[in-house]
């Protein structure tokens, strides 16, 4: 009777540990579809960018060589002044930064630079677009390269930045319009029509901060179309680093970022789990839990 009870308790230990490890594994493996998340495979995720060779960091500006890094900052939430200060400082040290994301993020970024910003609305282009009026094609004036922007929007920007020099880097085509009066996806009488600036560059010392007024640039849905521009930005041996500091406050997303590497699950996690399994199995076997 005593032996049976002891065996049952050992089996319980085994099952509890196995269940816990299974839960951890499933958390790591099951997909999470946050916008701009490195491991997300959704339209606005960055899984393709990671597979393209990008790494991610939750604290991107610490210990990073600005001259060798292309920093991609894509966010849903507005940027704080301290974060912006770090970003500008990184740029001034020779770094290249590409920023895009939600309207709130870009608006906060431009305002943080000392500009006056008024939101007009989404820009649609029924002619120069890729499959959908929301995937608008723009030509970069400097590099003679076309870029596909996913859901671009336009601001009325006035004033001058506190640091550096702001330039318009790309405009939409003359067929584009701002879907501002009635956001119904089609042109309505009275809505502005013509070329709109959607990409700005801010040069600070030797670095450059590229602000793209679009919800997706290097995201999964348009990465293939923009890979040439990405190569140009990363030329000079710059490694691509994706900023994921936005997810520090999200435990699940942060945990996954810690235990997963661009090559797959971290071998360190596998090592730790293996040690736990060996210890539990040896404990159960040595006590006669499983004959």
């Amino acid at each position: 009777m005593l032996l049976r009870r002891r065996r049952s308790s050992l089996l319980a230990v085994y099952l509890v540990v196995l269940t816990a490890l299974l839960a951890i594994s499933l958390i790591v493996v099951l997909p999470v579809d946050y916008d701009y998340y490195a491991l997300s495979t959704s339209e606005k995720g960055h899984r393709n960018l990671v597979e393209h060779g990008a790494s991610w960091s939750t604290s991107p500006l610490r210990g990073v060589d600005a001259n060798k890094t292309l920093l991609v900052v894509a966010r849903r939430t507005p940027i704080s002044s301290s974060e912006l200060e770090e970003l500008v400082d990184f740029t001034s040290r020779g770094g290249v930064v590409v920023a895009y994301g939600s309207r709130e993020f870009t608006e906060s970024l431009l305002r943080g630079l000392g500009l006056s910003v008024v939101y007009w609305g989404l820009v649609l282009d029924p002619v120069f677009s890729e499959n959908s009026p929301r995937r608008v094609l723009v030509e970069l004036s400097e590099r003679n390269t076309s870029v596909t922007l996913n859901t671009p929007y336009v601001f009325n920007i006035t004033g001058t930045p506190s640091r550096g020099e702001l330039e318009h880097a790309a405009y939409t085509s003359i067929f584009s319009f701002v879907d501002g009066i009635v956001e119904n996806g089609v042109y309505d009488i009275g809505e502005p029509i013509g070329e709109f600036p959607v990409i700005y560059t801010l040069r600070v010392n030797s670095g450059v901060l590229v602000v793209v007024c679009a919800q997706g640039v290097f995201t999964n849905s348009v990465l293939r179309e923009n890979s040439e521009w990405l190569k140009l930005l990363a030329s000079g041996g710059r490694s691509i680093v994706l900023d994921q500091s936005e997810f520090e406050s999200n435990i699940l997303a942060y945990f996954k970022l810690l235990v997963v590497t661009p090559r797959g699950v971290s071998p360190l996690l596998v090592l730790v789990l293996s040690v736990v399994i060996i210890v539990v199995l040896y404990y159960v076997y040595s006590r006669g839990g499983i004959e």
């Binding site: 085994y14 196995l18 490890l21 299974l22 951890i24 594994s25 499933l26 790591v28 493996v29 090559r263 797959g264 699950v265 071998p267 360190l268 996690l269 596998v270 090592l271 789990l273 293996s274 040690v275 399994i277 060996i278 539990v280 199995l281 040896y282 076997y285 499983i290 004959e291």
Partner: protein, 572 residues
């Protein structure tokens, strides 16, 4: 025929060394083929020396874990090393283990499931181990499938209470493990090489045909293959010992037929009187006295009614055959216990004894028929004039024939035996044992060629009132006993298990219910002494007592009373 594991066992050390080499070569392999090695590949080298030092199971777990981690590095070269590592670890376990490994291997492989989810490539070494395990299991099934089991029953008949013995012979090539199951429960298991012969037994619960389902599990020592033979149904006929003793008794009776005379058979009803000491009386209780005692018993409900009385006499038992009675009353009113003894002639039983006796002896009474007279207790029942007696059915008297020359008494000449046998048993096995003891006692007298020893038997028949009293020579008593056994249909009242329990009760020191019960039993003992003394005179004979475990307390008191009165008591 040796198993594969036995053949490989001599290579266990080289296998460990090979495993060590593979572990050490893993990072080198990655460097050689991939031109670089990850940090983890070097970390994995650290526990490598453990494979030489630790036990077999840990080697297997280490190699499995190492292979899973190596596979997680997503390198084709490392995947090959990973598979080899896992395979070698398993082979070390297989060759060095002498106990079941199947469940351990399967549980270990299952335990790494979280890692298979994390790194699907780690399924490769695990699948390889599983495939090899299945291959070896198939091989062992072929070997164990050649096993054979023979089951022999030692005897198809056994006595009640004795186990039925049987033999199981298991043959199987090589080393194997066997487990014998009875009704699905394991009774014996062990290891054997080529052949195992097992002597087993099972208990039989009841008279008649008892069946037991037996099966034999033959398996590989590493638990990779197992085959169940059977179930075999063992059928044993269980007979009572009494049957054998009855036959033996009848044989001896035939042998001593010339000495036979009719035994005296009476029914004695003891009615002890207990004077209450503390304004209440307890004369009996359910199960203690009422059913088991040979005196009168009353229920607990009756007891409450009687509590208001100062003194209570046990109710007399009704006697269906009470036609002739002799009452002996104790005149003493000063003692707390007194008793009365009533003798009754059991008419039906007498007829049956007479009938049995007639099978052995001729009814030659010699002498001239002189007429009849009234029956007096102690008269030979064979002299009863039944025709005349039945004509006087309404009266209480029997008539006995008077001959000019009485047949010489055959009693005497061999000492006196007094046996008190309470055949109230709680189960058939106990009844069989008690009857066997009683018969053995009587037969032992005959075996010492003392057929004429005078025997006084007091027998309590289960479920009947009073005691049967049989007296005469041993062989005469046997005739009467045979008649009772065969025709009265003796049976156990219950079918309970009993066991002996040591408990010290100081006689005379108890109060309340126990004290009253003790007083009652003492009175019963005194009545019994009067009954014995009325038959054998004032001689202090040896009284042999036979009773069941359940009545130990009662007979402890009666024995004490007998001893106090100068009798020697032997308990059987």
């Amino acid at each position: 025929m040796s198993t594969l594991a036995e053949a490989l066992s001599k290579y266990s050390t080289p296998l460990r060394l090979l495993l060590l080499v593979v572990l050490l070569a893993t990072p080198l392999g990655e460097v050689f083929f991939n031109k670089s090695a990850s940090l983890y590949a070097y970390i994995l080298v650290l526990p490598a020396p453990l494979v030489l030092l630790t036990n077999t199971l840990l080697v297997f777990l280490l190699s499995l874990a190492t292979s899973v981690i190596t596979a997680s590095l997503n390198s084709p070269v490392l995947l090959v090393f990973s598979a080899i590592t896992a395979l070698l670890g398993f082979l070390v376990l297989y060759t060095e283990s002498s106990t079941s490994i199947l469940s351990r291997v399967l549980v270990s492989l299952a335990a790494f499931t979280p890692l298979y989810i994390l790194t699907p490539l780690s399924l490769v070494p695990a699948t390889l181990v599983l495939a090899v395990l299945l291959g070896l299991s198939a091989r062992e099934y072929l070997r164990v499938g050649r096993s054979r089991v023979d089951v022999f029953l030692e005897s198809k008949v056994t006595y009640l209470g004795e186990p039925a013995r049987y033999r199981v012979v298991v043959t199987c090539p090589g080393l194997f493990k066997y487990t014998v199951l009875e009704d699905g429960k394991s009774v014996i298991s062990g290891l054997a090489r080529s052949r195992a012969s097992l002597d087993l037994s099972f208990s039989c619960k009841h008279l008649g045909v008892n069946e037991k389902s037996t099966s034999v599990l033959v398996e590989d020592v590493r638990g990779l293959a197992k085959i169940t033979h059977g179930p075999y149904t063992l059928s044993v006929r269980v007979v009572a010992r009494l049957k054998r003793l009855l036959k033996q008794a009848e044989k001896l009776i035939e042998e001593y037929a010339s000495y036979l005379s009719t035994p005296r058979v009476l029914k004695v009803i003891l009615t002890p009187t207990v004077t209450l000491r503390a304004e209440k009386s307890v004369l009996g209780g359910a199960g203690l006295v009422g059913a088991g005692g040979f005196g009168a018993g009353i229920s607990g409900a009756d007891l409450r009614e009687m509590e208001s009385k100062e003194s209570q006499r046990a109710p007399k038992l009704e006697t269906r055959a009470s036609e002739v009675q002799v009452e002996v009353k104790d005149s003493s009113t000063e003692t707390s216990e007194s008793s009365a003894v009533k003798w009754v002639v059991p008419k039906v039983l007498l007829l049956e004894v007479e009938e049995s006796l007639s099978r052995y002896v001729s009814r030659d009474f010699g002498g001239e028929y002189m007429g009849t007279r009234e029956y007096v207790p102690g008269d030979n029942p064979r002299t009863i004039h039944w025709k005349k007696s039945l004509r006087k059915e309404l009266s209480d008297d029997y008539c006995v024939k008077i001959y000019a020359r009485e047949r010489e008494s055959s009693s005497g000449g061999g000492g006196v035996r007094v046996i008190l046998a309470d055949l109230t048993a709680v189960n058939p096995v106990e009844l069989d044992l008690m009857l066997s003891a009683l018969y053995s006692e009587l037969l032992s007298e005959l075996s010492t060629e003392k057929p004429l020893t005078e025997v006084h038997l007091f027998i309590k028949i289960p479920g009947e009132e009073g005691l049967l009293y049989i007296s005469g020579g041993v062989v005469d008593a046997l005739v009467a006993l045979n008649t009772i056994t065969r025709k009265q249909g003796l049976r156990a009242l219950y079918n309970y298990e009993t066991w002996r329990r040591s408990r010290i009760i100081e006689l005379g020191g108890s109060t309340g219910f126990i004290g009253d019960l003790e007083m009652y039993y003492r009175a019963l003992g005194l009545s019994l002494i009067k009954a014995i003394e009325s038959k054998i005179g004032r001689r202090k004979a040896t009284v042999q007592v036979i009773h069941s475990n359940a009545l130990a307390y009662k007979y402890a008191i009666i024995t004490n009373v007998l001893k106090d009165s100068g009798f020697t008591v032997l308990k059987l």
